[in-house]
């Protein structure tokens, strides 16, 4: 069952096409990673599904309800953390958290205290004195102490230190284990890799790739490092082998996943001394899509 469904979403600002025919969905109980370069349309998409911006065309449904017309009903079961958290300078963090939780309609004081402690936040300080990371903590505490069914997180960790990032990841795993859904937009690919079941990549207002990480890895190449007794010949004649480089005792190269079997059979004839293979990282995927349309010559160092 889909908690969030985006169908043929198009959004224009004047003549500028911010989003064009965007399609994706987030299923119940899954963490969906939403990645893409700056200005690709991540935040615009999120703002449409929050009912802050109105879709020019297409359908956005959250919990089966229209994101614009039934925004208030939807928001009763949704928690949102923006990437750039602007707060009121003369309210304290504690006051803002209470306000946010109350405006959603819930109240979970027990969780609030626990999270404030976990995130190491001083709720008696005025927001004016908070750093970016601390303002983000305020939004995160407010979001995770709400009892929501869908968490929409727009680059929520850009200001957090590695320790707090781990606390954040725990929070996400925690809500996931309770069967809640999460839409996580992020630039930190290791985080997405660690947390997300499925990923959508958006570029210039269009979703160019989506699916589970495993599915997407099929589309990419495995890194191979191999040392052999005799030097390998004729490897370049195979389809799907790229970036062959000689090292001291052997070769490194990348191979398309569907050609892996043939290539390994060929290589094994030369007497393998050492074989290392690394799965493609999300960064490889990311780079491949971001660096324009050059299909060949993607250099990575997985």
């Amino acid at each position: 069952m889909s908690v969030l469904e985006v169908k043929h979403l198009t959004k224009t600002f004047g003549k500028f096409n911010a989003l064009y025919d965007v399609n994706f969905d987030v299923k119940k109980g899954e963490v969906f990673g939403f990645i893409g370069p700056n200005g690709a349309g991540k935040s615009t998409t999120i703002r449409v599904l929050l009912g802050i911006l109105k879709a020019t065309e297409g359908q956005v449904k959250v919990f089966g309800k229209d994101a614009w017309d039934e925004a208030v009903d939807i928001h009763k079961h949704l928690a949102y953390v923006p990437g750039d958290v602007n707060l009121w300078p003369n309210l304290t963090g504690g006051e803002v958290i209470d306000l946010f939780v109350k405006l959603r309609g819930g109240n979970n004081n027990h969780k609030r205290e626990e999270l404030i402690k976990k995130f190491d936040l001083d709720p008696t300080k005025k927001c004016r004195t908070y750093s970016k990371g601390n303002r983000q903590k305020v939004a995160l505490v407010a979001a995770f102490s709400s009892d929501a069914d869908l968490y929409v997180l727009d680059e929520p960790t850009s200001g957090l230190d590695p320790l707090m990032e781990r606390v954040f990841q725990e929070c996400v795993m925690d809500v996931k284990s309770q069967g809640k859904s999460v839409l996580l937009s992020s630039h930190i690919l290791s985080e997405v890799e660690k947390l997300c079941d499925r990923v959508g990549i958006i570029r210039q207002g269009q979703i160019i790739e989506s699916g589970s990480l495993n599915e997407m890895r099929h589309l990419t190449r495995t890194h191979i490092l191999v040392d052999t007794k005799q030097s390998i010949t004729a490897l370049e004649e195979f389809n799907g082998v790229h970036d062959i480089e000689e090292t001291e005792n052997g070769l490194t190269f990348q191979v398309d996943t569907e050609e892996l079997d043939n290539v390994i059979k060929h290589v094994s004839q030369f007497g393998i001394l050492k074989l290392e293979s690394a799965p493609p990282t999300l960064e490889d995927l990311f780079m491949r899509h971001y660096e324009g349309n050059e299909k060949q010559g993607v250099t990575t160092n997985g």
Binding site: A71, H75, K76, N90, L91, G105, R128, T129
Partner: protein
């Protein structure tokens, strides 16, 4: 050593001046013009010594002394009159100018992290503070000279050279004192808000202390720097001692600020910012509570301001009767409506001004919604279970309450001061109905702000253009004899002028209907549009 802590001060001073040249120029031009247009106006208004002596009678009471300070009422020349009625008020404005200019380049720059970058460059620890002290001091020396020679250049007999220079020096000196006060608080307080707040509090206390002591025991007024302004006795005995005192105090304050700056860490203060509330009060936990909380300080300040405005208008009613009462010619000129007293004739003219000024805070309150949107804070509210109608409605209700409180308080101020100075007193109902009748027009102005927010969110400030139009045509309308329709383009032009006109129900009803229509339209627009920064 001095090389180390003050390195590059000159360069930084030039840099600060470069940043603020237009701001400083505008302040100086504004203040100098404000000062030098007054004496010719007085000279024109009160042509003979006899006329000036007549006005001293209305000046010789505690209320006036509290407001303007003591003056040389026995030799009330144009100069003495200018000094008496103007110099203290101008000094207060100069004090505010000093606070704002000084806070900008001390604590505000520090809070925003700019001083950190300057400090990382080869500049001394105390360079930036002293650079801003240099720029501010130069500004006030300039103010002293421009004002002094400007007044002398008017060529009015009683404005002699010494008095004029003393006038300028007093203003400049006040500026230096409050620049010093601000420089000290910039070290003590941890935020620029705190710096401005504490310094303004000192300014207010200085003014109040002076007001109380001027009325009760004049020698105690020496305790207040604003008391020194009157002690200079400009254009009468020309005392320079107060100016010397100002210089001494400002130098001491500046030295103290340097000392405090040298013993503290960057970003720290001495007044510990007290921890705030850990939990939100029940009241804060709604869009309405939040909207009020965000505007609370402004709301209270405006409320006090409007009460004082009403009261200061009311306080002239007593003199009004004595001034015009004996003069049959004035009486014949003014009396048009039968049975209306002089004061009653005067009230509609007064009320339109009061009502227009009382419209400013509610319109600000309404436009705050757009301000919050620009700062990307509405997202926090709207991504929770709050509808747009509820959100805008909260700000709207608050603005309407604001309008009601403001117009009511100014009427109360007018009545309470008026009735205490008039022999036969004033009827509260008469004053209040003349004021509250403007309420529908005020709501209509709020409606315009809502309409703009709904459909032209980037142009919500256009409401101020409409406001200025209203002010212009209605305040100056009588003078310029505009045709009626010019005034009627403003909601304020449709309000019956109580008490000399009858309270006509129809125009108020129609105006209210139109206002409601505009408001509904604005709500629809706000519900349909994207949020935008």
């Amino acid at each position: 050593m001095a090389d180390q802590v003050l390195a590059n001060t000159g360069r930084l001073a030039r840099f600060i001046f470069r940043l603020d040249r237009i701001r400083i120029a505008l302040w100086l031009i504004g203040l100098v013009i404000f000062t030098i247009i007054i004496p010719p106006a007085f000279d024109n208004l009160y042509k003979t010594q006899a006329e000036r002596d007549a006005i001293t009678e209305t000046m010789a009471n505690p209320a006036m002394t509290a407001m303007f300070g003591p003056g040389d009422l026995n030799h009330y020349t144009t100069g003495a009159m200018t000094a008496h009625q103007m110099v203290l008020m101008t000094a207060v404005i100069v004090g505010i100018m000093a606070i704002l200019l000084m806070a900008r380049h001390t604590r505000a720059d520090e809070e925003d992290g700019r001083i950190e970058m300057i400090r990382a460059l080869p500049s001394g620890r105390l360079s930036y503070l002293n650079a801003s002290l240099v720029v501010t001091s130069a500004t006030f020396i300039g103010l002293a000279l421009f004002t002094g020679f400007g007044l002398y250049a008017l060529g009015i007999e009683s404005l002699d050279l010494e008095g004029s220079l003393l006038y300028g020096a007093t203003l400049g000196g006040t500026g230096l004192v409050f620049a010093g006060v601000t420089a000290v608080f910039a070290q003590l307080s941890e935020s620029s808000r705190g710096t401005i707040g504490w310094s303004t509090a000192v300014l207010l206390i200085a003014y109040l202390l002076r007001a109380i002591t001027d009325v009760s025991n004049e020698s105690l007024s020496w305790l207040s720097p604003l008391g020194w302004v009157s002690k200079a006795e400009i254009y009468s005995s020309n005392q320079w001692l107060p100016v010397l005192l100002m210089l001494a105090v400002s130098i001491i304050l500046m030295v103290v600020s340097n000392y405090l700056n040298s013993i503290r860490d960057l970003g720290q203060g001495f007044i510990a910012s007290k921890p705030g509330k850990k939990y939100a009060s029940r009241f804060l936990q709604s869009p309405f509570g939040l909207a009020f909380r965000l505007q609370r300080t402004g709301f209270i300040s405006w409320a006090i301001g409007l009460f004082v405005l009403g009261a200061s208008y009311g306080s002239i009613f007593g003199d009004f009767e004595t001034f015009f009462g004996d003069n049959e010619m004035y009486e014949q000129m003014l009396v048009q409506a039968e049975g209306a007293s002089l004061v009653e004739q005067f009230i509609p003219t007064l009320m339109i001004v009061i009502a227009l000024i009382a419209t400013i805070p509610p319109v600000i309150a309404m436009n705050k919604l757009r301000g919050e949107e620009k700062k990307e804070r509405l997202e926090h509210i709207l991504t929770r279970a709050v509808s747009r109608t509820k959100l805008m409605g909260s700000y709207f209700v608050l603005a309407v309450i604001n309008a009601f409180v403001m117009i009511s308080l100014s009427a109360l101020g007018l009545w309470s001061a008026g009735t205490s100075v008039m022999e036969e007193g004033l009827e509260f109902g008469m004053i209040y109905s003349a004021a509250i009748v403007y309420f529908p027009a005020m709501v209509a102005m709020i409606g315009i702000a809502i309409l703009l927010n709904g459909f032209l969110p980037r142009m919500t400030h256009l409401v101020w253009l409409y406001f200025i139009y209203s002010f212009f045509v209605l305040y100056l309308g009588n003078m310029f004899q505009f045709p009626d329709w010019v005034g009627q383009l403003s909601p304020f032009g449709h309000i019956p002028q109580l008490p000399i006109e009858d309270a006509a129900f129809m125009p108020l009803f129609v105006l209210s209907i139109i206002a409601v229509g505009i408001i509904i339209l604005g709500f629809i627009g706000f519900n349909k549009r994207d949020l935008q920064n």
